[in-house]
Structure formats: structure tokens, C-alpha cells
């Protein structure tokens, strides 16, 4: 674990610089959006739960950014940064949290469950591991339709690796040699359960060999490391190298959700290199490389705050879903809808 947090030397090519700048801006926008949503949650303005990506923005942003237009992304609950990097508009997030009838889920599902399948952004169900095989299905379908070059990425935590769905789907992807990139954020706790009660192998990356898939390690607190691991994994998947497992070590810097005070998190972990805030580390990298200065950071922050506040002001004025106008059926086949309420 300590090896993973060793600082990776930064390659100062322009591609690398651009990737860092784009990722940092997504991380910053995600952090600010998450913080705003947490504040609104505490003020009682949000229906349902709020789950933050604090401490996971580098990994998430690197995942979203490494994908190309037309790729598939199935985010999990801590992927505000990855969603923004993949191209999800801020207004989609805000509308979903406010339950706006104009949001992508139209009040039928909320918050982290938003998505747009036709745009390749899958709306997660709550059952961990369940989205992996759905990504497999999209990738297999594209192969059948002779659409080449697509990659599908999905994010899970340490806890999800204990599910049967994870096992079945990773094995399935390996059998079909699908261009799947499975990103594991080992954030040390699944809700309150520490990794010692979750798995018994030394490193989650060890699991890859058992499935016959390639493994990539990343320091989740370090944007440079995350960008490098994701670039490598996505490129290999796209080149026909089959499924890739990316395992990042980091620490969740918040509760499981905003209802959770995270009192169970070991203070020693918080002080360890794992407890570093990836946003601060990334900022230091950008300063050290002279890719951005303080005034640039301030400008990005102002832009992000404006974008978020504008979206919130808009969503707050929008209509809520109307139970009398709601079409109370789960079927798309009109003539098979039963007349019984």
C-alpha cells in the first residue's frame, strides 16, 4: 500500500499537462458541487440521500476523462467528478437532486441514480456490482453490431468486490474479452466496514489474475498516478487487450453519506499518506509544474461557483413532478397495461 503512494514523476509533455488541467477543473467543479449539495441537504432542501466523492475526485475525474465520445460509463455514488469529465451537464445533477420534472429522471429516481443510457451514461441501481454486466451487454451488443473501438468503464468500491454480481460480471467480461475497464476505489471502508472484514487477499489487484484480466495499480490521492493508470487501462482495452482492473488506494474523506459522521474511520489512516486530499495534491502538482498559478485557481473556482449557482437557481424554479399528470405504468407497451390500479 505504501508503494502505491510513492510520488510518480510527472512527464511534462503537453498531452500530460492538458490532461492534468482538464482533470483538475473537473475535480474542483465536483468538489464545489458536492459541497453545495451537502449544504442544501443539511438545509433540508434535498429529497433523499447525498453521497459525496470527497477524496475520490482524482480517480473519478481520470476515469471520465480517459473515455472518448461514444464510450460507456457506469458511475457509482462517488463519481461527480467522473460524470462531469464524461460530459454530464451540471444541470442534470442539480435537477435530479431537486426532483425537477425536467431532470433526466423526472422525479422517478433520484440523486446518484441519474443517467442517460442513450448517451452511454448508465443510471446505477443500488445493488452493488449490478452495473458491470450491463456494461458488458452494451459492449457485446456493439461487437455484434460491428461497432468497434468502444470502451466501457464502471466504478466500484472495495465493498462491491464481495458481491456475486462483481464476480459473475468480471468473469463474463474476461470470457468474452470485452473492452471493460473496472475501476476499484479501495477507500478502506464499505459504509462502516473496514477492509479487514471485507476481503482477505493482500491487494484487490491480486484478484485480476484469477479472472485472467490485467491489473493496474494507482495512488488514488495522486492525480498523476490516476491519469497514468486510467490512460494505460483504457488504451489497452481499446486495443483489444480485454478487461482491465484498475485498483486505486485512497481514503474516503467524508461519511458514507451526509447522514453519516464517519466516526469509525481510524485516525491513523487519516494521518497516513492515504488520507491526503487529492484535490490539494493535484493543486500542488499544478503549481510545482507551473501549469497554473493562484490567480488561475481563483478564476476556475469563480467560474465553477457561478455555473453551480446558476444551475441551482434554475432547478429551484422548475416544476416538481405532478402526481396527477404522472403516467402510472412501468410498461412501454401501451396495449399490455392492465386497467387495474
Amino acid at each position: 500500500m505504501l508503494q502505491a503512494v510513492t510520488e510518480v514523476r510527472v512527464e511534462a509533455s503537453d498531452v500530460v499537462r492538458q490532461a492534468h488541467l482538464a482533470a483538475f477543473r473537473c475535480m474542483l467543479r465536483a468538489r464545489l458541487l458536492d459541497e453545495k449539495l451537502a449544504a442544501l441537504y443539511r438545509a433540508g432542501k434535498i429529497y433523499g440521500g447525498v453521497f459525496l466523492g470527497r477524496g475520490q475526485e482524482a480517480l473519478s475525474a481520470a476515469t471520465g476523462l480517459s473515455l472518448a465520445k461514444g464510450d460507456i460509463f457506469a458511475p457509482l455514488i462517488r463519481d461527480t467528478a467522473g460524470r462531469l469529465a464524461f460530459g454530464e451537464p451540471v444541470i442534470d445533477a442539480v435537477r435530479t437532486y431537486f426532483g425537477s420534472a425536467l431532470g433526466p429522471m423526472r422525479g422517478r429516481d433520484g440523486n446518484v441514480h441519474r443517467g442517460n443510457p442513450r448517451a452511454g451514461l448508465l443510471p446505477m441501481i443500488s445493488h452493488l456490482g449490478a452495473m458491470v454486466s450491463v456494461v458488458n451487454g452494451m459492449l457485446l451488443a456493439r461487437r455484434m453490431k460491428k461497432i468497434t473501438g468502444s470502451v466501457g468503464a464502471t466504478c466500484l468500491g472495495d465493498g462491491a468486490t464481495s458481491t456475486g454480481a462483481f464476480h459473475e460480471a468480471l468473469n463474463q467480461a474476461a470470457v468474452e474479452k470485452l473492452p471493460l475497464v473496472l475501476v476499484l476505489a479501495n477507500n478502506q471502508y464499505a459504509y462502516s466496514t473496514p477492509t479487514s472484514r471485507q476481503f482477505a487477499c493482500d491487494d484487490l489487484a491480486d484478484k485480476a489474475a484469477g479472472y485472467g484480466v490485467a491489473a493496474h495499480a494507482a495512488d488514488g490521492t495522486d492525480l498523476t498516478s490516476c491519469l497514468r493508470a486510467l490512460r494505460e487501462a483504457v488504451d489497452r482495452a481499446r486495443a483489444g487487450g480485454g478487461p482491465q482492473l484498475v485498483v486505486a488506494q485512497l481514503l474516503r474523506l467524508c461519511g458514507h453519506g451526509e447522514h453519516d459522521d464517519a466516526s469509525y474511520i481510524d485516525a491513523r489512516l487519516k494521518k497516513s499518506p492515504l488520507g491526503r486530499d487529492c484535490l490539494k495534491v493535484a493543486r500542488e502538482t499544478l503549481l510545482r509544474q507551473k501549469w497554473a498559478d493562484a490567480s488561475q485557481f481563483d478564476e476556475w473556482r469563480r467560474e465553477a461557483v457561478h455555473e453551480i449557482e446558476t444551475a441551482i437557481a434554475q432547478a429551484q424554479r422548475e416544476p416538481a413532478p405532478d402526481p396527477f399528470a404522472e403516467k402510472w405504468t412501468a410498461l412501454s407497451t401501451e396495449h399490455l397495461i392492465e386497467g387495474h390500479a
Binding site: 433526466p104 429522471m105 422517478r108 429516481d109 441514480h113 443517467g115 442517460n116 443510457p117 442513450r118 448508465l122 443510471p123 441501481i125 443500488s126 445493488h127 449490478a130 452495473m131 458491470v132 454486466s133 450491463v134 456494461v135 458488458n136 451487454g137 452494451m138 459492449l139 457485446l140 451488443a141 456493439r142 455484434m144 453490431k145 456475486g164 454480481a165 459473475e168 460480471a169 468473469n171 463474463q172 470470457v175 405504468t329 412501468a330 410498461l331 412501454s332 407497451t333 396495449h335 399490455l336 397495461i337 392492465e338 386497467g339 387495474h340
Partner: protein, 321 residues
């Protein structure tokens, strides 16, 4: 030339594969082997790359089907036995069944479930889980009782833009025969009057329709005219046809091979009670399997599920009132 229920299912899949390039089949042993029951015999050879063997992973099989449906394909999934679909339950009821409602993206998947008891099959190769799937919104549940329906309803299932649980009764696979495939059929959602009568309505579905028809023949010898309604589809349930039949007969027996708590027969009785209470001349009754796992030994198995004799006896009880 005659054709079995199982061959009709194979023919319907061949037809669907031939007519629609979006259709593919995915399931355990469905490829070169042709399926545990041979429902996909030779299809892998006829349609290369479109009939795929899956690992023993019902959850991932169903998840993959949802992903393929999102991409516009129309997967047919074969669960080797209906009993094993419980391993894929989460993907069926939480992923496939909620997708359209949540996202407006249709989820056209046909899940073929070889279901129902056969002698000696035991607790884990005999189950009839139609009611648990029907309970969830967003799913169509079909239970064909004839060779013709097995063919035409499977073709219609593949064309439906929602997830369909297609329950094929294993007892009917080889026993039931027809002279030819149908060229026209009742649509999904319509029940069928399998036998006309005026003294009692027996509502049944899947293999129990055949047993109900046998019981009706037995009762005819005693002078009773029994009407048998074949539900064909348990969701949607054609309440109108059932209530219209009860309006003619005044008496109702709902027969199912599934367990007695809740389920299709309870739903039928509840609907007749609320929509046709005044039509009834006697309390409606239900006949189901016993409330235990499905037993292995033929003696126990035969007593566990409704038989022709048990159906006739239950009918006589109602007719005497």
C-alpha cells in the same frame, strides 16, 4: 407432420432470428449443444455468432441482456431451469423491470423459463415462479398451454418492448403435439375459452389447462358442463374474459401448479370477487400445490400438485353448493 411444444419453441426462435437481426440467444449450453432440453437445437449452426453459450452466471446473464437491450438488440435468454432464475432475480426485477420507467429507454428482453414439475425432478428443478415475477411492475408474464401458443406467444414476446418472462412447461415439452404451426393467434393479454360450459368456470394456465380439460371431460360424463378458461398470460391478466365466463356459470375454481400463498389463483379470485361478486352463486375456490418444496419421489410429487382427480373433486364440491 406433427410438432411438439418444444419444437414449436425452437421454431419460434429460428423464425425470430431469421426475421430480425437484432435478436440473439444467450444462456447456458444453448450453443453447439442445443440447450439442456434441445430448445435451441442447430440454431448456433444456422445463425453463427448469434446463439452464445454463457458461463453459469444467471445474474451476469441477465445484466448482459439489459445492456444489449439498451443498445437496441432483442436478447432471448434461456434460463436452464426456471428455478435458477432466482440467481438472476435482482437483474430481472431491479434492472430490467425498472429501466423503461426510470429512463424512458425500453428493455425488450425475453427470458425463457423451462418451469413446472416433472416426476423425479425434485425441489430445485420443478418450481413455478410466475407469481413472483408478475408481482413486480414492468414485467409481462406469459404461460402458454398449447403448442400453437408456445409458438405464437414466443414470437410476440420477442417483439414486445418490455421484459417478458416466458414460462414453458417442461411436462408439455414432448407430450403436447400439434399438426402444424399457427398462422394467426390471439394476441398476448387475451385469455382463451378452451372449453365452453355453463355450470362452472375453471380458470387455469400452462400445464394445468390440460388437466382442467381432462377433469371437464370426466365431469361431462356426470352431466356437468364445465367452462375452462386458459389465461395464456398471467400478466396482464384478462379479467374481462374471466368475469364474463363467471357471468355465464356463476361458479369459479382457479387452478394453479404454484404454491398456495398469494399468486395467480389468489389474484383471479380477488378480481372476480371485486368485479363480479354479484355473479357468484357459490364461494369461489382455489386449488394449488401443497405449501412445501416440490418433492422428489413420484408418489409424493403426484400428490403435491393438483391432478385431474383433485380438480374434478374440487369442482364437484363447488357444484354441489
Amino acid at each position: 407432420m406433427s410438432l411438439t411444444y418444444l419444437e414449436a419453441i425452437r421454431e419460434a426462435q429460428a423464425h425470430a432470428l431469421r426475421d430480425d437481426p437484432r435478436v440473439f440467444i444467450y444462456g447456458q449450453d444453448v450453443g453447439a449443444f442445443g440447450g439442456a432440453f434441445k430448445a435451441t437445437k442447430n440454431l448456433a449452426k444456422e445463425f453463427p455468432g448469434r446463439v452464445l453459450d454463457a458461463p453459469i452466471s444467471e445474474d451476469a446473464i441477465m445484466g448482459l441482456a439489459v445492456g444489449a437491450a439498451i443498445e437496441g438488440l432483442r436478447p432471448i435468454i434461456e434460463m436452464q431451469f426456471a428455478d435458477f432464475s432466482t440467481v438472476g432475480f435482482n437483474q430481472i426485477v431491479n434492472q430490467a423491470a425498472t429501466l423503461f420507467w426510470r429512463t424512458n429507454v425500453p428493455c425488450p428482453i425475453t427470458v425463457r423459463l423451462p418451469f413446472g414439475g416433472t416426476s423425479g425432478a425434485g425441489p430445485f428443478h420443478s418450481q413455478t415462479p410466475e407469481a413472483i415475477y408478475a408481482h413486480y411492475p414492468g414485467i409481462i408474464v406469459l404461460t402458454p398451454a398449447t403448442v400453437e401458443d408456445a409458438y405464437s406467444m414466443l414470437l410476440e414476446a420477442v417483439a414486445i418492448d418490455d421484459p417478458v418472462i416466458f414460462c414453458e412447461h417442461k411436462l408439455l415439452y414432448r407430450h403436447l403435439k400439434a399438426e402444424k404451426l399457427p398462422t394467426e393467434a390471439l394476441p398476448v393479454g387475451k385469455a382463451r375459452i378452451a372449453r365452453e360450459g355453463r355450470d362452472l368456470t375453471i380458470v387455469a394456465y400452462s400445464a394445468m389447462v390440460q388437466d382442467a380439460l381432462e377433469a371437464a371431460k370426466e365431469l361431462a360424463a356426470e352431466g356437468w358442463e364445465i367452462e375452462v378458461v386458459d389465461l395464456r398470460s398471467v400478466k396482464p391478466l384478462d379479467t374481462d374474459t374471466v368475469v364474463a365466463s363467471v357471468a355465464r356459470t356463476g361458479r369459479l375454481l382457479a387452478v394453479g401448479e404454484a404454491w398456495p400463498w398469494g399468486g395467480v389463483t389468489a389474484e383471479v379470485v380477488a378480481r372476480v370477487m371485486s368485479e363480479g361478486f354479484g355473479l357468484l352463486d357459490a364461494p369461489p375456490q382455489r386449488l394449488n400445490a401443497k405449501d412445501t418444496p416440490v418433492p422428489f419421489h413420484p408418489n409424493l410429487w403426484a400428490a403435491h400438485r393438483p391432478t385431474v382427480r383433485a380438480i374434478a373433486a374440487a369442482a364437484r364440491d363447488i357444484l354441489r353448493q
